[in-house]
Symmetry: C2
Subunit: 498 residues, 2 copies
């Protein structure tokens, strides 16, 4: 069975989105007075599955059951879970292969026959399921290395599973504890009629999966003074996203100090053979940490220096401002929870956020040594596709430019009438936010209308909520495109900029 | 003498800019009532030298003498002239080398001595002066190939010189003829008190050098109905910019059909040994033509379909609209003459123009064959720089994002007060336009002020004219950066996006 990994991923996310849409629509919303349109249910489902947290309806319209469904969607759509599942899937193929070969040897079946029937799980159908994996497909007998590979991969799956469980359990425990201890936070939830435990689980899953949905309308703005809660969420954001490769490597290393020496050594020193996208070589892992904190520092300094005295942060003390700024800087890649209204922050920071949202999670400064390693990875990826497809693919930025232009076309009427809300920057923020699966949005503000419309009411949903259906569909495509971007990071090779 | 080609280029453009500034400031402007500030003189000089045509003052304030000075600046700053000059400079080194070696052979001087004193002009000090050039520096005697190389290069210089002269003479002749025949165009100039011949020369030089300055305040808007004039300028835009490599190759090929067979064959088949940036291999040259016309077609279709009934084009007949749209599409890369007010065109087209302005002139679709050729070029370029420098360089887009953020910072006050004029899109258009040395600008409009200011008067200069001095200085840096972009097209190699 040779399945194209891209199609496999696409089928998984699409079917999950449709299932989510169908279930969410079937359940009763919290109030019977307002019922979202079908497209908004679908948008929300896609947004949860692709961990984007873009919204076209307010969060508080969802009932407790709907929130639980969304929690499941976010968990199943999270990159760490998906990559673990595909690793497990690949591993079960290895198991089958080793078993067959074992039987073959023990019953002395002719080698030629065996080798033609069962090859080691080839790289073609698992490559890029978060996995770049080389095997010599002409060998016919499993050797010691194969068994070590198998047991190492099994260990890797177990480590990731343990990682998932530990972070989630600790997250839920800490958030629940915080809510139990700090009345100002639990008070907010009581007023809104939200269940404490659902909130804890929802927020933890959402944060760790880098989704960024929060079950309050105001996202984290309403908790901007609860620095403790922000401090609990910050590590979860980092552990579940930009720092995952470094933490995974560290976990394996710690495990190796205690037991399973052979497997952990194999895992740590053969990252390219293993080809798990989230397990990087030592040097890359450490530079990643520097890069992540470097980016956070730049944003933090800029945010604090520009927004220190802004209206948004009035009422916060210096400590709360510092924690809030840090939270915001961490969230621009790619969780997208926010303690301020994005549309009111300084335009310079907004541009910086756009850059940060665009950069993929494991963007890292990596000094050039011999220029061989990365070209090797590219070469492996390139080989997979036919020349024709290769030539037709554009680069990521070209696609994004095309999407922005298309949205400008679908919303062109509103761009003329309502130029302060419907401007290109806000559209770019929305598109890049969807592409980066972030969820930052400038929203829509009645105050910004140049020709005030008496019936306009400010709502707590994303800017896309005010778009036409065509615009929303475009954004749904962008979210999928962003979630599957790992398959096109080398697009546009046939274009020469000179 | 081993000069860093980047520094050589930088010194050339800087000294030319300062000379231009000094001369322009010394000359009397047309009216004594208004005198531009020093920064605006410098800005204009830089804009002419880097062929950007960004403006912070209206063009009609310049006297005839000042226009002539600007013509010279544009001519000396044009890429074709500069690359021809550097090719000639390199060729004179070859001549010296061949002469010395010749004498060495005839007077039987010891070979060892000769070879240590005079090497063939090495690639290090001429590389990237529009030139990627390989020689084996350990040979000590000129061979036949060296002589052929020398005579081919000499021929190449002559061909470029001929090309320059023919296009300029024809251009001036055609524009003058048009003005003599069509009274509506010459009437405009008479009313403005502009000299016909100066206008012809200025416009021709400006168009062919891809500068895009026009001596009228309104740029080409005032000639939007003069389709004939636009039709004369369109080929000059293309011949002097995006299509230059293809036309140069064609000229050499035609020349080879008549005489100088050996040299033209050498030129046509050894493009990488010759390493002249504007002489591309056959396949690249032909794909470049397709790409250029593909881009024009996309813009043309979009411009005509979106702007056909716009206010701007009212009063033009269908033929004039088609020619005007074509002219606009050709000018977005990178000449920047315009027949409409850029700020009033549809935002979708504006985004498309931003992309087009960003793409360097010889951007080309080039199907992947074996992936060797371009990596070779990259390798050559990379070798030149030290590892440390290499690691510190960012990609072009990163620098542009930084410049946009910096301008947002310097203009942050105005961005709050005057959000329809000072919005991020307009700043991005201005910065990318300066980077691409285009000259498109959204300008500044009193009508767009949200809080109208009674004393505001609409002026015919670029948006940058309303910026603070810091903003203008940033834009001057961006123009230089854009003009010298050929030295950093491979920046950001030390960053891995994963
Ligand atoms: K997110
Ligand atoms: K220009």
């Amino acid at each position: 069975l040779h399945l194209n990994p891209f199609l496999l991923y696409l089928a998984y996310f699409t079917s999950l989105s449709f299932t989510g849409f169908w279930v969410l629509r079937g359940l009763k919303p919290r109030t019977s007075s307002f019922r979202p349109k079908d497209i908004d249910f679908f948008f929300t489902s896609v947004s949860a599955v692709t961990v984007s947290s873009m919204s076209t309806v307010e969060m508080e319209i969802f009932s407790n059951t709907q929130l639980i469904v969304m929690t499941i969607l976010m968990f199943l759509g999270g990159e760490i879970f998906v990559s673990m599942a595909s690793l497990h899937f690949r591993n079960s193929k290895w198991k089958k292969f080793l078993k067959i070969q074992d039987e073959a040897v023990s019953s002395n079946i002719e080698l030629g026959m065996v080798s033609s029937n069962s090859k080691p799980p080839s790289s073609e159908n698992i490559l890029d399921l978060g996995i770049l994996f080389h095997t010599q497909s002409d060998k016919s007998l499993p050797n010691n290395n194969d068994f070590l590979m198998y047991s190492s991969l099994r260990l890797l799956v177990l480590v990731i599973l343990g990682y998932l469980i530990v972070v989630h359990v600790l997250g839920v425990a800490f958030v629940s504890l915080y809510l139990a201890l700090v009345s100002s936070a639990s008070h907010v939830l009581k007023n809104k009629g939200l269940k404490m435990f659902t909130f804890s689980v929802f927020t933890t899953v959402s944060t760790f999966a880098s989704c960024g949905f929060v079950s309050t309308n105001e996202n984290m703005i309403v908790f901007s003074k609860n620095s403790g809660l922000l401090m609990i969420l910050i590590p979860q954001v980092l552990l579940g996203n930009t720092l995952f490769p470094s933490c995974l490597r560290f976990s394996i290393w710690v495990l190796g100090k205690m037991f399973k020496k052979e497997e952990t050594n194999y895992l740590l020193s053969n990252t390219s053979e293993i080809g798990y996208l989230h397990l990087l070589p030592t040097q890359h892992s450490s530079f990643l940490v520097f890069t992540v904190f470097g980016f956070i520092l730049v944003q933090w300094v800029m945010f604090c220096s520009m927004e220190w005295n802004s209206e948004q942060l009035i009422g916060l003390n210096s400590y709360q401002k510092l924690v809030g700024g840090f939270f915001e800087s961490v969230n621009s890649r790619h969780t997208g929870e926010t303690i301020v209204d994005i549309s009111t922050i300084s335009q310079a920071i907004l541009v910086l956020f756009v850059v940060m949202m665009y950069l993929p999670p494991y963007t890292s400064f990596l000094p050039i040594k011999d220029g061989e390693r990365d070209s090797q990875v590219l070469f492996v990826r390139r080989k997979r596709r036919g020349k024709i497809v290769e030539n037709l693919l554009f680069s990521q930025l070209s696609y994004l430019a095309i999407f922005v232009i298309l949205v400008c076309l679908t919303e062109r009427g509103k761009m003329k009438e309502d130029p302060l809300n419907f401007n290109v920057l806000n559209i770019v923020v929305e598109v890049i936010s969807a592409y980066g699966n972030v969820g930052f949005t400038t929203g829509y503000s009645c105050k910004r209308q140049v020709n005030p419309d008496g019936s306009c009411q400010d709502k707590f949903f994303g800017f896309a909520g005010k778009w036409s259906n065509e615009g929303k569909i475009l954004l749904i495509i962008v979210m999928f495109f962003g979630r599957l971007k790992q398959f096109n990071m080398d697009g546009g090779k046939a274009w020469k900029l000179l």
